[in-house]
């Protein structure tokens, strides 16, 4: 089974609304990463949050990490149509590898 997984397969909101994607992981980690993959492109890293951090921001994006519940969330405020993508969380697994969840497909409706 996957070591990291998003909690919802698909999500949709209207443009301008806020949305949160959740992720849970199964092992003790040193960091968790959020990636976004738009149609026709490879995944691109959005945020890396270390195990000693509780929150990290990047513009309209905010990631949180709760090591006690082994969960993370990625919130997007003031969503835009171009935020439509698949969002992956990825947690480390050993020293060199990260393992991805299956992703949450987020659709922003006009």
């Amino acid at each position: 089974s996957q070591l990291a997984e998003e909690n919802l397969w698909a999500l949709s909101v209207h443009e301008g609304e806020s949305v949160t994607v959740n992720c849970s992981y199964k092992t003790s980690i040193t960091a968790l990463q959020w990636y976004r993959q738009k149609s026709g492109e490879g995944p691109a890293q959005l945020i890396l949050i270390r195990s000693n951090e509780r929150e990290k921001r990047n513009g309209r994006l905010r990631a949180t990490l709760d090591t006690s519940s082994q969960s993370s969330s990625l919130s997007i405020t003031a969503t835009r149509c171009e935020d439509t993508a698949v969002y992956f969380c990825a947690s480390n697994y050993g020293n060199e590898k990260i393992t991805f969840g299956a992703g949450t497909k987020l659709t922003i409706k006009p």
Binding site: T30, G40, G42, P43, L48, G94, E96, K97
Partner: protein, 114 residues
């Protein structure tokens, strides 16, 4: 330039035939990865090179080969394609290969085996 390039973008192969996919990066990254991505599934790590050292995942050890003739290029080779190999193949690179490194992905090669 943080671009990772992959060729070809689309590949049609016949069952039993070999397939060779190419990836390149000019960021002088130590580590290059190959993932297999099927619809609604997580990207699955197949193998990675740290410098010249190849590390293959145990469950895909015999199915995929790779070479890295220099720092910039990495190939993924399938000796005899089966229907189950139909997928998106993603190449990525990272500066050092640590678990906290950012991985930079290429756009992927979509392989269809018939």
């Amino acid at each position: 330039d943080t671009t990772v390039k992959q060729n070809p973008r689309y590949k049609l192969a016949r069952v039993g035939k070999p397939v060779n996919l190419i990836c390149s990066q000019t960021m002088n990254h130590d580590t290059m990865y190959w993932y297999q991505k099927k619809p609604n599934q997580a990207p699955k790590l197949l193998l990675f090179y740290y410098d010249k050292i190849l590390n293959r995942e145990a469950d895909t050890f015999e199915k995929f080969q790779s070479s890295r003739p220099n720092n910039s290029f990495c190939s993924l080779y399938i000796g005899s394609a089966g229907l189950e190999y139909s997928a998106m193949y993603l190449c990525a690179s990272s500066p050092t290969g640590g678990a906290q490194d950012t991985q930079y992905f290429g756009p992927g090669t979509r392989l269809l085996v018939l």
